[in-house]
């Protein structure tokens, strides 16, 4: 009996893979409908746009400046929050948030990410990660300000409120082929 159990035990020991699948969850935008006329130029003002480009050599160009990836998260946070209501950072639109019962100035900032076909996947994920981290940190701070709780501990309703206060606006440019 014990022998058979041992045999099975060793079999399961060998075949077991304990790794849990983890990763960055994102949602792709729906494909634009071909039948519907595209609304030309959804006009996003320049001040509301945070452009991140990654070239084929994995270099980062943020708002027209070469940047190290370590600075990216803070730069993105600064952009989204626009704490000093600066003229060249995004507009904040007071929006009524029903879960909160009051209006909150929601930032209209959009982060636009564009990469080259030659960009490495590793770099792309690093950048994605930093940008998602920026949003997560903002939400975490907001959760503490509003509810004195961590974002992960919020109830569904509270989570919705925070998400409405700081909507994740991370857009990826439609891929285009520019030469080779």
């Amino acid at each position: 009996m014990a022998d058979i159990a041992f045999l099975l035990l060793i079999f399961f020991l060998v075949t077991t893979t304990m790794d849990v699948d983890t990763g960055i969850s994102r949602k792709l935008p729906a494909m634009p409908d071909e039948n519907i006329e595209k609304p030309e130029d959804v006009d996003i003002k320049k001040r509301n746009l945070f452009i991140v480009l990654i070239n084929r050599d994995d270099q980062l160009l943020v708002q027209g400046e070469l940047m190290n990836i370590r600075e990216l998260k803070n730069k993105a946070k600064e952009f989204i929050l626009n704490e000093n209501n600066s003229e060249d950072l995004p507009v904040k639109e007071p929006t009524y948030i029903p879960e909160l019962g009051r209006t909150y100035p929601v930032s209209k900032g959009v982060i636009s990410l564009q990469n080259d076909n030659g960009t490495s996947y590793g770099k792309y994920i690093q950048v994605q990660n930093e940008l998602v981290a920026a949003y997560n940190e903002i939400r975490e701070d907001a959760a503490f300000d509003e509810y004195v709780k961590s974002f992960d501990d919020l109830s569904e309703k509270e989570e919705d409120a925070i998400k409405k206060m700081h909507p994740l606006r991370l857009s990826e440019a439609e891929p285009k082929n520019i030469g080779d």
Partner: protein, 159 residues
């Protein structure tokens, strides 16, 4: 002497009566914890080849996840498929154009109610160029499989 005759040489053996119990306990533990690998990997995306990130979440509901692997073919397949990164769906090499079919096939295996919760997990080798990944993303958009997960592991080193 009557008493001395009983004494044996060496130490007495350990009682093994409880051994099967312990073995069974371990056996059940491993049986429950085991996740059988469903597909044989033909491209090189081992655990260490995935990118590192901090904002990672656990992938819930494994039954609703479909996997797309991208990486260089393993040495055994190089003569046939070359050494450029390739896509693997299920257990076969595939082309970008096969993705839509694959997603549709995956959907048919699930309940209709579960379809909106289906996620596609992209397991891509770090050194892959984005061109192929962008193509996959476009195909997924065309198939309206919008929930994706970039498989990544916990970051261990400084950025």
């Amino acid at each position: 002497m009557a008493f001395e005759r009983k004494r044996k040489k060496g130490s007495p053996g350990i009682n093994t009566a409880s051994l099967p119990d312990i073995v069974f306990m371990l056996l059940f533990f491993f049986m429950v914890a085991t996740v059988m690998r469903e597909v044989e990997l033909k491209v090189e995306v081992n655990v260490g080849d995935l990118p590192e990130a901090t904002e990672i979440k656990k992938l819930e509901k494994k039954s609703l996840v479909s996997y797309i692997y991208v990486g260089k073919p393993k040495p055994a397949f190089r003569t046939m498929y070359g050494s450029e990164p390739r896509i693997q769906l299920n257990s076969a090499f595939a082309d970008v154009n096969d993705i839509r079919e694959y997603i549709i096939a995956e959907r048919e295996l699930r309940d209709e109610a579960e379809i909106p919760f289906m996620t596609t997990s992209l397991k891509v080798h770090v050194d892959t160029k984005m061109g192929i990944v962008t193509d996959i993303k476009q195909e997924l958009r065309k198939a309206s499989a919008l929930k994706i997960n970039y498989s990544a592991q916990e970051r261990t080193s400084e950025l």
